[in-house]
Symmetry: C2
Subunit: 473 residues, 2 copies
Amino acid sequence: IAKEVAKLLEMKAQLGGDEGKHKFVLKTPKGTRDYSPKQMAIRERVFDAIITCFKRHGAEVIDTPVFELKETLTGKYGEDSKLIYDLKDQGGELLSLRYDLTVPFARYLAMNKITNIKRYHIAKVYRRDNPAMTRGRYREFYQCDFDIAGQFDPMIPDAECLKIVHEILSDLQLGDFLVKVNDRRILDGMFAVCGVPDSKFRMICSSVDKLDKMPWEEVRSEMVGEKGLSPEAADRIGEYVQLHGGLDLIERLLQDPKLSQNKLAKEGLGDMKLLLEYLSLFGITGKISFDLSLARGLDYYTGVIFEAVLLQQNDHVEEPISVGSVAGGGRYDGLVGMFDPKGRKVPCVGVSIGIERIFSILEQRVEASAEKIRTTETQVLVASAQKKLLEERLKLVAELWDAGIKAEVLYKKNPKLLNQLQYCEDTGIPLVAIVGEQELKDGVIKLRVVATREEVNVRRESLVEEIRLRTSR
Amino acid sequence: IAKEVAKLLEMKAQLGGDEGKHKFVLKTPKGTRDYSPKQMAIRERVFDAIITCFKRHGAEVIDTPVFELKETLTGKYGEDSKLIYDLKDQGGELLSLRYDLTVPFARYLAMNKITNIKRYHIAKVYRRDNPAMTRGRYREFYQCDFDIAGQFDPMIPDAECLKIVHEILSDLQLGDFLVKVNDRRILDGMFAVCGVPDSKFRMICSSVDKLDKMPWEEVRSEMVGEKGLSPEAADRIGEYVQLHGGLDLIERLLQDPKLSQNKLAKEGLGDMKLLLEYLSLFGITGKISFDLSLARGLDYYTGVIFEAVLLQQNDHVEEPISVGSVAGGGRYDGLVGMFDPKGRKVPCVGVSIGIERIFSILEQRVEASAEKIRTTETQVLVASAQKKLLEERLKLVAELWDAGIKAEVLYKKNPKLLNQLQYCEDTGIPLVAIVGEQELKDGVIKLRVVATREEVNVRRESLVEEIRLRTSR
């Protein structure tokens, strides 16, 4: 026995030893990433374009916590609910990370009894999805949401959301794009006239939503096989979902013997007509396509839905092909009511810009080009040519900081001038303020322009002004 | 039996009915909050001041995921580790929400083999602490971190961190403040000469850290009672931690018969002297106090530590009293090495601005004043005085958006002019562009200045220019 115990103790010691080594896996969690300074510079350009647009349309901004009570998110996302991140029960409330910004927005409206607001919200959301990071699909990603809540005349806010998508995608110069538009009421009417039982509407809608990733044959077999739809109903749906067009298609469907008998579909088609009229006033119908195959996965939509895809010309086929969705949204008139104790509804419509894919595209473009992106804004490096001038450099850099000049100093007691100039080259700092024994005696600072190597002596009291002048372009 | 079954079924039905009611608790999770548009406007002012300062000092910006592998956070926070939020194990990696931005920063440096960077990072962190929201203590809160990593000459980056704290607190005009400075090496040396066993250094350090919230008597009894320190050692510590001052105190301690014999303490005191010399060059020693009671809770500090507190003049006592910490930081030379497979060290020093308390103060100040904060930037409302002009309003507002003007339109077919003017009053929109039958015929738009009620007809092609001119101030 003593022998056995010794053996076990030895084994334990070995295990303990291994533990002690702290074998770290040095990585970010699956589906997430860090942003380097260069990536941040690109990201901020994108954010800037988006926020500028949201503000141009008069939006306020709000923020909500990254997690919500678990029950706040329950029953809002249909099949996608399985992708929600839950927090561990460490005592207290049960919490989940937000899955989008829309449900927290609805919770915010109900909680604060707000019936009227136009707001944007830019923040990270979380989905336990299969990441495809090269194509910009992450588990932690930004959404940039703009929503209009309130009881208004039909399709005016809806049209503004589409205008916003158009403005942002044009501003960012991502190439050609198309905004597909449909309406949940048209879809539901279509399902009804095709013979889908009411109880299967949402389920079949989820299947239709997969049409952008799967061919019709596969979607059909999911409908019939997994979801128990009759083959005849599926085939009827198959005919409708091929259709896309503009006002002409709406007129045709309004004449459709079956669809025109369905109240929901008729309402949806009437509003779609109005929407296209408003979009024509906005001058953007060229990039809008009314598309019966557009379904959107989420449960909460009740009216107009839309999705913007980037297009790429392909040598082998005539029509440009979609290279992925970059924005989506729609009307959700019932969501706020789900949170209100008395079920009071607040009609809402909104759009969400998915910046990850946009960011991927711009990042690749920068990589491919020779463009050098500065990651700091420093205007001047305070340097010295001789030794023992650390104190003078510190005094001068503090003077510049206090005057609001963006300035740096190398953290060495006696840095070589060459190293200081090299630092400017590497980081794009345009000016160097050089302190030297003689200059200090003369009350001047030598200002050097990095690009031209030109040097001028500037009186110390004029230095701030001179730096401002030279970096104001 | 049949009766019993019926009874049970009835009970079940009742329970089911209750479930169906969805009794939502309409709230944000404990210790968290939403930000309203007005709060966001104040928050953005604070961020703006902080980011401007960080950029003035030449910092780049990075971002990291909101959660990390659980093991990344393990063993970094000492007693505070119990406050980390874990995610539920839903298969895959074990994850935790970040507790601060410093450990993710160190992980980022090690992972990317970066040995030299000056970066800022502004993001939310998470602590399962007891919230005290009126005093700005939350479970989800922002940190604004600035850190300098790299092998440099002593105390130059450390001094810049303190300069940054000084600049930000001055810029934000929060009233009087004091930055307490100490050094972990001085503390450890002090513990050694007081007779604290090596194994209890961190534990006793945690107790000293509570001195800003608890009187010495309580801290002493924690040391002796809970932590098993000898009463004599505690009393010796008690004498040291009363001391605070400037260069004079450093000189005195360098003469202290016990402390001056301790290698660590001597090193720390020497560097503290150098730090104060640099801060004097920066002209900020007036608000700096070398304070032996400052300990900071976190395990990872290895050198200089500091904490900024706001001061308030109190009628009853002579000296101004601290109303809470708003920034803190220090040197952590070992943290990156904990992540590096070969233990390679990257010396770091950094500062974290705690904006929640700052934000509380500014929010109260705005509430108390008559200042009206605009939450949008809209320059002009496109309005109409007559009915049936929706289409003309939509056309005009799209023209303005496309020209980069911040414009809104009410989402009503026929809004009353009074309601449109009231909307401008309520939201602070300075201009109204009024379309009318006659004006359309004449090719002009009536531009109204909300504040003065002045109205002028502007030719449609000059409208954009005129709006820019009138809103450029």
